[in-house]
Symmetry: D2
Subunit: 330 residues, 4 copies
């Protein structure tokens, strides 16, 4: 049984720790966070040890694999330390906000023969996976266009903006990964337009809150992404893939299938699931399971640092396009 | 070109006259109503002659076919007079509220070799017709169960109740026809329960406003019907047919496909189309066209007095069951 | 923390044991089954002790509560033994197939002041619960009609039929509980028709496979239930509640929201979730949690033997009606 | 009653003539086409006079208004001739493929005080109109993003490509009009990418068949359009408008609401309505009616040459962007 530790006891660390505690493929050994109290609370609720030094936890010989859910600027150091000690790594996105550091991490990890998976959770969502599988089975022939709608229920705290890397690296990065995965080809040209329609303070902080991206692959396949930091109706996560033989749509999730009819309207449905923790709860479970299965089976990781690097490269290019008003070739 | 007259310039006569005026298979010659003013208004808007004596209109030699949309208690006399004069007849439902009179009309019409179609408009609704066609094409194998939901937006005026024949003969009669058509076998046993939940005055007038019917055919196929005289969300007309190989559902119609998302709910759709004139507008057009096509082609009428008689027989049996609390064999 | 044991290591026992092992409100102490091997397997996968004598497990002092998932004919004896020993009980449905034994169990349990919950899992399904909650909040005014569709993907093995108590007691019993819960009044009149349309061997075994039930409460509210032992398209579980102010619909669940468009059709969706273990997985989790919460809080059980008794009484009455062709008053 | 003539007896002329014949606000006087036979056929089926000289028809004193449905390169001359003669004009889109000619037509028509309406039929579609009305009523607050999907069931004959003006002027032009109408602000920046993924011969003919457009208004509102000349599942016409308070979606239309469930899939719906003549049949009726109502009421035309000019300007800019790979400011 794989012995696992979770680094980081924040929102994302708690998800991974709870999933690790419930997954029969692994045993959760420890959770570590520089905030000792957070680590202790999480360790208690998941029945494992608490530690306040993530790096020290990597030194434990009774740990085979780690999940890195610490702040972004600590990812690369922890990832490489884990790799040097021969641990398998599931690293939260983004690997880093600086693409050169991601490239260095990738080449060092490769040199070490490390097993590193980057955590683009959406690939493991049952609906997104069903779309991808259907494409692979030829359900819609050759892909022509991908349309991704991705809107958050509410913007993050303003204090988070400066360290976020900006909306393209923080939010759209998930959609860039989806785009690459569903297009079946790498985007070559990218163009973006971005506005501040939700909160002017976001603009003052140097970021955008509402954007559209267009990408095009070498063979001429096209992808549209729209993002907004705030949707009144909740966390909006829809995908459309149009091909020579048909179309696939993946819709949002709701708490139940309840529909209400009254004198004013019909088919009234409940609000969408609140945010990523609820919407992608199953995806997080399946993501960890895929990571563990790859370790068990000695197979390739389903997602690598290279996937992280490519998504970040698209984010950088989109930001450049939004600022310059030019189409950028990647 | 078939020369046609419409008898009755009320709500239903106006529908038929407008459809006749627009149908390229026929020429609308006259509309007749004992209320001369109503006839005149309708004649003007449809560009034909007005008459105040329906019976006299039947005597015209320049009329090949008639639509009977007069009050129910005049149907049989007009129908037989038309038949004697060799006119084809499209007669509104019910043929009569008294099944003996319907039987006499049927046998007299048969003796005369008359071409009489009874106007169960729902069979011509594109959705209902698509269900029936799919059954015929084997899309769901052998039919096992039919579930019919049929609710009006609002009850008729209380003054109409005494002459209506009661909810089973006035409202459910459409559903009995649908049931026979979709079951593919005649119901043999029928059981009904009926309440007054909308307006006690309906009960005082000797009628019900909310009911459920169960029927069973010789081979054991089953049908459920539910009716209510008032649905807050509008005219509810749904059908479900369940068979050995699958299921067919036919849903309500709305003015458009608009869906709205807001902070309180998602997929909010517009109210249903108001009532039968709007909901079945296309069915009325296609019904008249089928009548005219049968005349043109010299083929059997798609619906006969026998269909009217059988639906009425089921209505009578259901009423007997609701009153006696017993299952009735027909 | 509540210490719990699961009696029965069959299909339903495995669900409860897995949920108990994962629920933070309780600790799973043991699973017991007369088939020692089944108990051992389940104990291993859930990390608890195995036992081959359910009754002996009831004698353990380190067990506060038990889930009874053994064969139906053992329920009452185990339930009462547990009650005598002061354990809280979650008993699978039906309590017994013989209503007199259920009545005796109810009165003995009452005498003992026992805490017994009967496991009608559907009440805990998020969709069904959302319907019930919306009714309680007045979303549709006063309830007038309830329509329940409930069809299994495939009939049970023929060998199960004789011990099942028949389709009304085995399958419809869930719908009787739903009906009572959603109508908000007790049914007073019941009428049923039942056929053998799936497999004649089911008829030979003395049972039916396709049925319709109508019920009516004292105030005239109405309920329709349809059942079939086999639906080609899978496990069909839909509910409609119609009231003076609107309507609520609860639809089936699918693995994802994927919709496919191709040259032949549009909106093609995946098959329904396979059967009750998948469809009601969340309901089983929430059911156990509600049981544990009632123990923790010292509150009334959300479902009692009386609920089991009333559902069985309706099943008996429906069977009598189907056999006699009469409406039965309960 | 307005006396109307239809110029052009092709596909679009036939639609307008049939609608004029059925519209109670007008009397169809004549249809004119240089193909005398086509005019004769259409005149016969709509009960009016036939003419082979559209210009001569404009000289008739018993004609108050004309619909111009002739080939695009004749629009401007006929439009201005009609204007000089004081006729009201409903002119099919595009007014011309050359924006300078459109500008000249606009200023000449203005000088003449002519009543000219440009036929962007989609604005009159009940679903599109419901979206626009809901925005106006504040249902979704301030518009932030518009997403338009518009795909044809099959490409036009190759022979049509050279005279079509290219996909942006021929097909996307409808979406540019929708975008302007729904954004509530004029687009200022436009970027487009276009490929040939359907048929290489379209590329050889100098055109594209698959494209994406992004536009941005002065206040930062954004619009995405995707087009393809061929969708295996039919004529795809969807619109999404996202605002500060919610979202509006308008979906495709189907022949009926039939849904089918079988062993392989559920919710299988019929293919979409075939193409624009079927999909927008109601829009064409309402468009003509709006034109006639504006004449009757002496009010402003709901759509003017200026709308035609602005849509064409966006088409030209999009083409320039697709060719140059640059964002174009308009």
């Amino acid at each position: 049984m794989i012995r696992i530790a979770v680094l980081g006891a924040g929102r994302i660390g708690r998800i991974h720790a709870a999933n690790a505690a419930a997954n029969p493929r692994c045993r959760l050994v420890a959770v570590a966070d520089v905030l000792a109290e957070a680590a202790a609370r999480l360790a208690k609720s998941t029945g494992c040890e608490a530690a306040s030094d993530p790096a020290a936890t990597l030194a434990r010989t009774d740990v085979d694999a780690v999940v890195i859910g610490t702040p972004t600027d600590t990812h690369v150091a922890l990832l490489l330390e884990a790799a040097r000690r021969g641990k398998s790594v599931l690293c939260e996105k983004p690997v880093d906000l600086d693409i050169r550091k991601v490239e260095e991490a990738a080449s060092e990890a490769a040199r070490l023969g490390a097993k590193v998976m980057v955590a683009f959770n959406r690939r493991f969502d049952p609906g997104m996976a069903a779309v991808h599988r259907a494409i692979g089975e030829g359900a819609i022939g050759t892909v022509r266009q991908v349309v991704i709608s991705s809107r958050d229920p509410a913007p993050p705290p303003l204090s988070y903006i400066p360290s976020s890397g900006g909306i393209f690296r923080d939010m759209t990065i998930h959609d860039f990964d989806m785009a690459r995965w569903l297009l079946g080809e790498e985007p070559r040209e990218i163009s973006a337009t971005a506005s501040t329609l939700v909160d002017p303070a976001i603009g003052t902080a140097g970021d955008f809150d509402t954007l559209m991206v267009t990408m095009r692959t070498a063979s001429g396949r096209q992808c549209h992404i729209n993002n907004c930091r705030q949707a009144a109706y909740g966390y909006d996560q829809r995908i459309e893939v149009f091909g020579s033989g048909g179309m696939l749509l993946n819709d949002n999730l709701r708490p139940s299938t309840l529909r209400r009819y009254d004198a004013h309207a019909t088919e009234i449905r409940e609000p969408l699931l609140n945010f990523f923790l609820e919407r992608y709860a199953e995806a997080y479970r399946l993501e960890l399971d895929a990571f563990l299965a790859a370790i068990e089976g000695g197979t390739e990781m389903p997602l690598t640092i290279e996937d992280g690097r490519r998504a970040l490269m698209l984010a950088d290019a989109a930001l450049e396009s939004a600022r310059s008003g030019r189409v950028v070739t990647v």
